[in-house]
């Protein structure tokens, strides 16, 4: 069950400070990388909610993000709907699809759950790849960003867009914490620890799974709609199962079930990818080896490792102080 610890607060503050520093000082490409990290961070938060706190290891979150991106693009370019409404529509759609997938897969566990979600992801991929309205393999362009000129922000400026994404990520982080502390979030946590007992206590398990998966899908949808606005071009590759696999890699690299860890993972992954791909086209090799090493080390990712090493000590020191304040500290971060 999710708890904020002193270490997690510290990490959040450092991450936010780093992102802000980057947002205000970076050149064009630095901003691109920052935005890429922020959007990936949204996706991995969505994944960590279901995988880290619900044991639902999904291999369709990339596809959900892709659905969000395509829904936004189609609604705003082809259907001529205003971007904010299109974005809301895209998020609602991914939420709905996520809910259905969560409901259907609720009876599957372990590897079957992974495979079932993979199947749904591939189904979406195949459909988008082949339906002419989506532009097939070539993808879709002509996407516009949200118009925030009312509050004096021009999102077409890279810096503004990066800051906007940072704000959205902050909101999503807050929402994630709220979801994990909500009834369904807590219950799902119980289901992950002991599904049989939760059922024996009277919980309609499939419903809780579907609800949280749907909420997670909505977050993936936000990430998708923003990814479409970031690149201004989308292609079916966005829905490919390897994107979901990479998202899972990021969650593991950062620390499953820590919420903060995947944020660290997203930053590390994107930076690593760019640094490596500048040097060699075989950067997947390095990522693959790193992934194997992290999983084999049995540490819970980078952040999990830090927590295991220093978390307990810091926690003990802060124990009394934090315990009493816990109910109030829900949203003081983000």
């Amino acid at each position: 069950m999710f708890r904020h610890t002193a270490l997690r607060y510290t990490a959040l503050v450092l991450l936010a400070a780093g992102a802000l520093f980057q947002a205000f000082t970076a050149e064009y490409f630095g901003l691109e990388i920052l935005t890429e990290i922020l959007i990936l961070a949204m996706l991995v938060l969505a994944l960590d909610i279901v995988a880290g706190f619900g044991g639902m290891v999904s291999l369709c979150h990339g596809a959900l993000m892709g659905v969000g991106a395509y829904a936004f693009a189609i609604l705003s370019t082809k259907a001529g709907i205003a971007p904010p409404v299109a974005m809301a529509g895209a998020v609602a759609l991914t939420g709905g699809i996520g809910w259905i997938i969560g409901a259907i897969c609720s009876r599957s566990h372990g590897i079957y759950f992974i495979m079932a979600t993979l199947a749904f992801g591939q189904m979406a991929y195949s459909y988008v790849f082949e339906a002419p309205i989506f532009g097939g393999d070539d993808g879709l362009g002509g996407i516009s960003r949200l118009d925030l000129s009312i509050i004096g922000v021009d999102l077409n400026d890279s810096r503004s867009f990066a800051l906007f994404c940072l704000a959205v990520l902050g909101a999503i982080y807050g929402a994630s914490v709220l979801i994990l502390r909500s009834g369904p979030g807590r219950s799902l946590s119980g289901v992950m620890h002991n599904e049989q007992r939760m059922r024996a206590l009277g919980l309609t398990v499939w419903r809780v799974k579907a609800d949280v998966f749907g909420l997670s899908g909505m977050i993936a949808g936000v990430a998708g709609a923003l990814a479409a606005q970031h690149i201004l071009y989308i292609s079916p590759a966005l829905l490919s199962w390897t994107v979901s696999g990479e998202a899972l890699v990021v969650v593991i690299l950062g620390g499953l079930g820590t919420l903060v860890g995947p944020l660290v993972g997203a930053a590390a992954f994107v930076v690593l990818k760019h640094e490596l791909s500048a040097v060699t086209t075989y950067w997947h090799l390095v990522v693959g080896l790193l992934l194997i090493a992290v999983v084999m080390s049995r540490a819970n990712g980078l952040f999990g490792w830090v927590e295991a090493r220093w978390g307990a000590r810091i926690e003990r020191r802060m124990a009394d102080a934090t315990r009493k304040q816990q109910p109030e500290e829900v949203l003081s971060d983000a």
Partner: protein, 289 residues
Amino acid sequence: MAHDLGFWILQALNALQLSMLLFLLSIGLTVIFGLMHFVNLAHGSFYALGAYFAASLAAVGGYWMGFFLAPVAVAGVGILLYSGLIKRMRKSGPMAQVLVTFGLIFVLLDVTRIVWGELALAIDVPALLSGRLSFLGVEYPTYRLFIIVLGLGIFAALAFVLGRTQIGAMIRAGVDNDAMAACLGINVERLFFIVFCVGCALAGLSGAVAAPLLSVAPDMGLQILIPTLIVIVIGGLGSLKGAVAGSLIYGFVQTFGAVLAPGLASVLIYALLAAVLVIKPVGLFPAKG
């Protein structure tokens, strides 16, 4: 287009041929899973390695050298990975296994690119199997018939080994309950090792067999992975019967889908998979009830 009987026989043979190729590939994966509860996403990479080894060996000593030695070479790679990685991952949860083998996919893909380059390699059908045979009133490529016969042969051999021999009984006991099998004095570790090697060798064999039919390219392992996973999930993890059923379902749906409903062909199989998982969440013929 109106089609005669010959057309449908031809298509049925096509479907059967595809099914057998997938069967060769999925049987190793499914038995490894059934016995060891180990999910090997890198199985497709072993298939690609098999094709590459076969292509390299065929260039030296002809098709049959590739055919016989490529599985051995892939089993060798399997042994390395087993002792280095997989042995230690056995007790981990499915997610850790999925991730380690996902990492392996990346690694093996780039290794093939480094060793063999980006260009597709060639391997010719051996003289013995080139040409066509008249069969049920249609002409069908001999090599494709060979794949069908090979698939059926391997199926028969595996059915015999699993059903009638002592090691088969041990494997079945291990699939049912590995702790119990260990109590019965079966050396479970060694059993796992053997099954893993055989599974890898079969993946290598299917790569070697597929190579003359397709092009040997770095991404062939990734391309085949999803169909293989669909096969074993539809069939039910861990069972020979499931692998056969899954392969046949995939082969026929894919082939006849392409003829009868071209627009739906690729979505069809995923929809079928989803339907199976809704109705029977553990597949049609799971190893355990």
